[in-house]
């Protein structure tokens, strides 16, 4: 039995028919072909699948597609204004070499943006490290991710995003 579902993803209305058990991340990857959002575990620990649902960071492996009915979803594919103009967080990750294999990166970037906003663009190292609790990276040792997020916070503020 399938259930119709409709939502807005990166500003575009989308719809599909899913099983009740279909996760939001499966809907994005398998139904919409939006493979920028990754799956790195099966226990909602790694954070590679983080997207924004109605402006808040959510692990898209933790909610069902039908729970996002009518929601505004933003994924890593929807962040940059253009290929030339990345979101300040994406730019900070590049500038600070905050990614290596790139697999955790989409979730890291999405979590980091939400983190900066929740802390009103003011963060210190200890806060960033504590807030990254839900995102695992095996390559970078977090050093440059922390640097990137600290650099992105004022950049996001001045860019008004």
């Amino acid at each position: 039995m399938t259930i119709p579902v409709a939502m807005t993803v990166n500003g575009k209305p989308v719809s599909g028919k899913v099983e009740a058990r279909t996760l939001l991340v499966q809907f994005l990857r398998e139904h919409l072909g939006m493979t920028g959002t990754h799956v790195g575990c099966d226990t909602s620990q790694c954070g590679a699948c983080v997207v924004h649902v109605d402006g808040k960071s959510v692990k898209s492996c933790t909610i069902l597609a039908v729970q996002a009915e009518g929601a505004k979803v933003t994924t890593i594919e929807g962040l940059a204004e253009s290929a030339e103009k990345l979101h300040p967080m994406q730019e900070a990750f590049r500038e600070n070499h905050a990614l290596q294999c790139g697999f955790c990166t989409p979730g890291m970037v999405m979590s980091a943006i939400d983190m900066v906003k929740r802390h009103n663009y003011q963060l210190d190292e200890a806060t960033v490290r504590r807030e990254l609790e839900g995102n695992l990276c095996r390559c970078t040792g977090y050093h440059n991710i922390v640097k990137a997020i600290l650099a992105a916070a004022p950049a996001m503020k001045s860019a008004g995003v």
Partner: protein, 793 residues
């Protein structure tokens, strides 16, 4: 023109754009028309006979396309998986090589062993159907505990390996070492367990395959660190598909750390079944499958003894190790605790005689193979732990004891007593720099201040050496390795002057697309935006050995330099023709061919164009085109070295260890991109810290169940488990490769466990604790402090 993009520049990475915008292409991202999905039914038991498998109900489940079991692969004469490194035991006999079927035949030997493969129209349907397969198991006693795996009466795992012994191997002359110990003023003894780790690349292993009926060609997309080697194994040993009919593509791969070197059951089965199903098949491991079936790392039980004279000079080292192989021998498993371990036991020191005895044991656990550092972290942990322990026993400064025994700078090339000849190095300035950065002098004041807050503060050193840049093929062959260890490169210029670097190395996070481009930009003066690195596809790149053992730049980069030299040599001939000059008078500077003392000049791009449009070209003497390849076989390994200093604070009430300072000073030879190298060091350190404080693969000793089988049970390092790091570097260029580079990928993970554990032991010495098992979890530390038996031993 290329100063900002050449060797030594902090060039931002070319690969980042796609990874930052969600447009990377990992195996699971591939859209394959009419794809089916595989799910593997795995053994829930550590050791059992398979009495029967009933797939009849599963076959009728919705969406099921096919189900395969060991009987199907046996009937089709699918070969077993191989171990590609023959280690000869101390009697000169090759190691025991029990069969490793791609699907279990009549016995399962670890939790996660492959029992059946279900192919269905969706992954969920395949998984649902797998649950409907009925397997009748007859339980057998499991052999799980490494410390007793070789004991008489331990359950036997393979008939081909009596007593579960794969080999009893030795290096060095025991009598010489015994003689040295007889003269010792002091002997330090150490028993340790090098805890078992699960690699946990963030991208789970995945495979997708399709078969083209018209051509008979197979294509396998795999999360491989070495697609050519994978194809070679599948073709020559396992599936028998000729190499030219099998294309292996490793696209973007999300980390490997060794675990994606090996040839596994699943990619084999997906390829084999693709032609039988007649549709593409995709498989991606769930994380719990990764925990159960990725080759694990480390897992040694070791006794070591160090003999010292009255002044603290090392006289000899004895090491006895039991190394866990798991239930089957993985692709390079046999080499890890022998040639990648015992040959490193000299460390940075002049220890004149060393004897190592290694017994490799089978257990009912997942196969164990190379994991970041592979043997070298285990060796470093032995040496650096026992040296620090000796310093404590002799009441010597740990830095001073190290300095006293360092190989002096004027002794290189230095022949160690354990086979390796170190090519270059200068260790004292490294430890001096580390001591300066870490403010070692101020430590006692910090310790006193911590004590006033109720905290126990400690400091630990780890001075590592590694042999990497694998490796000289002749040596590898003499030691039993089944492959060459050269690397390939091709520089393919296009008529408009841009260039593709085709490499046999593979990047799964190491940043080759940037580093290799910098090398070519530097050598040929080509703007970096006009350079593209192509890797990971057997159809488009020359045969190459892939990436592991910190070899990509030292070996692969050297092949690129050789190819660039050929481009310059050919370009000189073309330019000489165009300038009507003698080839001998042509020089190449900054991307332009010139005739010295004249204003004649031909930019490389013009020579390239002339080579492809050879209207004014010496066709009688020179072939058209500008496309040169090279193979580079190194004459020795490379020997990065460094010192890490870790400072911790222990809360004696909770047993919690906090890393408050961490310094690493490395000598990687010349550095192409410092930003990328620092990133490699950061990541390596955290994997080493993970081993020291957090990570532990635990099997239940009775049932063989993997207790630490998810991220809720296996403690991965998170951002708040580690501090920011202080790095420094010193340079002694490698004398035998054209870039003067050494490897940097594994160093952090090799050195860090000893640095952290030495700091923990230093912190706990004032309360009378001399040994904490690794990982130094709050439980283990608390129990060590409070006198209870540590949980992990």
């Amino acid at each position: 023109m290329t100063a900002q993009t050449g060797i030594g520049a902090r060039v931002k990475r070319k690969e980042d754009q796609r990874f930052l915008t969600g447009t990377g292409r990992y195996v699971d991202d591939l859209p394959l028309a009419r794809a089916t999905y595989a799910h593997f039914l795995r053994s829930p038991h550590a050791h059992a006979k398979i009495k029967s498998i009933d797939t009849s109900a599963a076959a009728k489940m919705p969406g099921v396309v096919a189900i395969f079991t060991g009987k199907d692969t046996a009937d089709a004469k699918v070969g077993g998986l191989i171990c590609g490194w023959v280690v000869k035991d101390k009697h000169g006999q090759p190691h025991k090589a029990p069969p490793h079927p791609v699907m279990a035949l009549d016995t399962v030997r670890y939790v996660g062993d492959t029992v059946a493969m279900v192919v269905a129209n969706s992954h969920d349907e395949a998984k649902d159907a797998a649950e409907a397969i009925k397997v009748d198991y007859e339980m057998l006693p499991a052999n799980v505990d490494l410390a007793t795996a070789l004991d008489k009466g331990a359950p036997q795992i393979h008939a081909e390996a009596p007593g579960n012994l794969i080999y009893d191997w030795e290096l060095g002359v025991k009598a010489d070492v015994d003689a040295a110990f007889a003269k010792a003023a002091h002997v330090t003894k150490l028993d340790l367990v090098n805890n078992r780790l699960i690699p946990n690349a963030m991208e789970p292993r995945a495979a997708a395959a399709e078969y083209d009926k018209g051509t008979g060609n197979y294509t396998l997309w795999s999360t491989s660190q070495n697609p050519h080697v994978l194809r070679l194994i599948l073709s020559a040993f396992v599936l028998g598909i000729p190499e030219h009919k099998l294309r292996v593509i490793a696209p973007d791969v999300g980390g490997g750390f060794g675990s994606k070197i090996f040839c596994y059951n699943e990619e084999t089965m997906v390829t084999w079944a693709a032609s039988r199903v007649g549709r593409p098949i995709k498989w991606t491991a769930e994380r719990s499958e990764s925990f159960q079936t990725d080759a694990h790392g480390r897992d040694h039980v070791t006794h070591a003894e160090l003999a010292l004279d009255k002044d603290g000079k090392f006289l000899g080292l004895k090491v006895e190790t039991i190394a866990n192989m798991g239930a089957y021998l993985s692709t390079f498993s046999t080499a890890v605790p022998t040639y990648l371990y015992a040959t490193l036991l000299a460390g940075q020191y002049t220890t004149p005689v060393i004897y190592a005895n290694v017994k490799a044991a089978l257990t009912n656990t997942a196969p164990v193979d190379a994991y970041r550092g592979a043997g070298r972290p285990e060796a470093t942990f032995v040496i650096e732990s026992i040296v620090s322990k000796a310093a404590k026993e002799l009441k010597m400064d740990p830095a001073e004891l190290r300095r006293k025994n360092f190989i002096p700078a004027n002794a290189f090339p230095y022949q160690t007593p354990v086979a390796l000849q170190y090519d270059s190095g200068n260790y004292p300035p490294i430890i001096d720099e580390a001591i300066k950065i870490a403010d070692y002098k101020g430590f006692e004041a910090r310790r006193a201040e911590a004590k006033s807050r109720g905290k126990l503060r400690g400091i630990g050193f780890s001075s590592y050496i590694e042999a990497c840049g694998l490796g000289p093929s002749r040596v590898i062959g003499q030691l039993g390795g089944g492959v060459g260890q050269w690397e390939s490169a091709e520089l393919r210029f296009n008529p408009t002057g841009n260039v593709q670097i085709l490499t046999g190395a593979h990047s799964h996070g190491q940043s080759h697309e940037t580093t290799f481009a910098q090398v070519v930009s530097d050598k040929l003066g080509v703007p970096i935006e006009n350079i593209e690195v192509v890797h990971g596809d057997t159809a488009t790149t020359p045969f190459g050995m892939g990436s592991y053992g910190s070899r990509s730049l030292a070996v692969g980069g050297s092949a690129i330099v050789k190819a660039a030299d050929k481009i310059i040599a050919k370009g000189k001939k073309i330019a000489a023709h165009l300038m009507e000059a003698s080839v001998a008078d042509v020089v190449f500077e900054g991307g332009t061919f010139k005739v010295a003392g004249t204003d004649k000049a031909v930019p490389l791009g013009q020579a390239v164009f002339a080579a492809y449009v050879p209207h004014n070209y010496p066709l009688e003497e020179l072939e058209p085109g500008m496309d040169e390849n090279a193979f580079y076989d190194p004459s020795n390994f490379v020997y990065p070295a460094g010192t890490q200093i870790c400072e911790v604070e222990v809360d004696p009430d909770t047993g919690e260890v906090e890393i408050v300072n961490f310094t690493a000073v490395d000598d990687f030879g010349n550095i192409v991109n410092p930003m990328i190298v620092e990133g490699q060091v950061h990541g390596g350190i955290v994997q080493g810290v993970g081993q020291a404080l957090l990570e532990n693969a635990v099997y239940d000793k009775e049932t063989g169940q993997l207790v630490s089988g998810s991220y809720m049970d296996y403690t991965m390092p998170r951002a708040d488990d580690v501090p920011s790091f202080k790095l420094g570097n010193k340079v002694t260029p490698c004398p035998h490769n054209p870039l003067g580079v050494k490897g940097c990928g594994e160093a952090g993970a090799i050195a860090a466990p000893a640095a952290v554990m030495n700091a923990v032991h230093d912190a706990l010495a004032p309360v009378g604790v001399s040994h904490v098992p690794m990982p130094a979890t709050p439980l283990n530390v608390w129990q060590a402090i409070h006198g209870a038996r540590p949980a992990a031993e």
